[in-house]
Symmetry: C2
Subunit: 318 residues, 2 copies
DNA sequence: TAGTTAAATTGAAACGTTTCAATTAATTTC
DNA sequence: GAAATTAATTGAAACGTTTCAATTTAACTA
């Protein structure tokens, strides 16, 4: 491993000159800077991140902590964040589980975007103290260094439900995701708001956990019921898809027997038959916005945190 | 930000004692070690990764570099790698694009797993010189510090094709992915081997690029053809799905008009109708194996690089 | 040409750890 | 109770950079 010292030796100059040259400091004339850069690349020198980070007390790196790599919603979001970050000269790393904790507390990044249900508010607040800006995507949380950016679930679900009501549905059931999550609560409240406006009561409520298997369970439960709702509003697509599959397998026709809607607009939702009505978020754009906000925060500029709007996708399922 | 110095001051001992205590060095008696640890946690001290990495000349971190976050095959692989790495006390970071390059050359990790088509063999060889072990997943490449671990494409495709032949298919077409990639070449060669064994010639070849849109194009091309193959072996699922969708939309019945098979067994493949026959790899297990191998490499232990077997999933599409 | 100013270069400290080698304290041995 | 052994603690160097402040060199001025 060659170090800056080796470069200096070959170039016959001091370490500081090499450092300045490599960092394009204007005090080094172009001609020498070029010569030094050439030598550096010839002997295969790359600065050590560890040394630079230690001295500069920053890393030019942003951490994105996610729950796991499996979720269908993340991909575009990550690509969007990375796109913007790279454009602005930052390096992005993504991690899960225990790795996220390690990276956070040992300050391996200058800032972070977090959407990991496994990190408690508690420990997040604790970590954020030592850390620099953290944007949380999956919860409402306000504290030193913590900012939240969320999808406007309430509004989107409110609009979707209004559309459903305008189609004449009346016996409307609601399928919950994990009860006390931000997503579940805000989606449910949007749903309720639309119903209340029309003076309609929820026909029945079901409780899942955002996964397809939980949808399948609920589907089975529904089949036993003689008095079915005519419409099922689900807190996300995965549950809706599980329910739909179960109902269809047992001879129910969607949407004539029962309508259904989801939230997230995952890929699969436009592959099933009928296609699932849902709420889509342009996650790539959303990712870019998040990254831009974090960058401002890192530069200690003023930011205006805004919510991302969902786009209602009405398809064949109701 | 509190440093080790602060801990030492509060504890009324030297920096070295704190360091030894925090690292569970047996020369510090338990009683003082516990006291020091308690103080450290009270004042919210966490060691700086930068300083530790610099001094120790390693990071206990593994980098996984991927092409982008969108590919349907990666998730389980990443989760598998992370599972094993975490279990062994390593931190895992994943990155794409330019970020991967930065992290690699500045030695922000001790080792890496790479499956990023955008990093050229050339630059990989260059980077690996300064680096520690790199496992590449998406190509055959042997050089200092570079090891490759791959799916046994040839064998899997050979077996699948034999099964197809045993069902009496005869006019068999092959759909290529990106021409000179490892996956394409080895899958194709397995396909050919099975045909040759029976003395059968390929009926026709088509050229895609592993994406669904390219499958759709090929589907359109096929529709113009009066003399269709009776079976289409595709280099991956995404193309197969694109072709299938296009053919079905235009009234062709699968598998009676034409059979089709894929490779990878992505989620979608068991959602379409008929379900797509494909080759599945247990990516979670595969990820664990990869991580285990890399860990051995990091410890400079002997490793035996082996190929991962594919599992043939025969479903309704032929 | 000497004096002044500007340009280019450099020495050295600092960032926060780890760890070697040395010192000090405590315990054992005879 | 002195010598020897072991246990506990510590000072200081080193890891590879960046950057301040100072020095050296070059370029102008009058």
């Amino acid at each position: 491993m060659s170090t800056i010292k080796d470069v200096a030796k070959v170039a016959g100059c001091s370490i500081s000159t090499v450092s300045y040259a490599l960092n394009n400091d204007k005090r080094i004339p172009d001609i020498t800077a070029d010569r030094i850069k050439k030598i550096a690349s010839e002997i295969g020198y790359f600065p050590s991140a560890a040394a630079r980070n230690l001295k500069k007390r920053n890393t030019d790196t942003v951490l994105v902590a996610i729950s796991d790599f499996g979720g269908p919603v993340y991909h575009e979001l990550l690509d969007g964040i990375h796109f913007q970050l790279a454009k602005s000269g930052y390096t992005m790393i993504v991690s899960t589980g225990i790795s996220s904790n390690n990276l956070l507390k040992e300050r391996s990044a200058d800032g972070a975007v977090i959407t990991d249900i496994h990190i408690s508010d508690q420990s997040l607040i604790q970590l954020a103290k030592n850390f620099r800006p953290i944007i949380v995507l999956d919860r409402r949380l306000k504290d030193t260094n913590i900012y939240n950016m969320t999808i406007d679930n309430h509004k989107a679900m409110y609009c979707l439900t209004k559309d459903i009501l305008s189609k004449g549905y009346f016996k409307i059931g609601y399928v919950h995701g994990v009860k006390d999550t931000y997503d579940n609560q805000t989606r449910y409240s949007g749903f309720l708001a639309a119903l209340q406006e029309k003076g309609i009561k929820v026909f029945r409520e079901y409780y899942g956990n955002f996964t397809k298997p939980s949808g399948i369970m609920i589907g089975a439960e529904l089949l036993k019921d003689s008095n079915l709702p005519d419409m099922l509003v689900c807190a996300n697509d995965e549950m809706a898809l599980g329910i739909m599959e179960t109902l269809q397998k047992n001879g129910k026709i969607i949407p004539s027997d029962i309508g259904i809607s989801g939230f997230d607009d995952i890929d699969l939702s436009s592959y099933v038959n009928p296609q699932l009505s849902s709420i889509k978020v342009n996650h790539f754009e959303w990712g870019k916005t998040i990254a831009l906000t974090l960058i401002k925060l890192l530069k200690e500029e003023e930011v205006d945190i805004h919510k991302q709007e969902g786009i209602i996708m009405i398809r064949g399922s109701y």
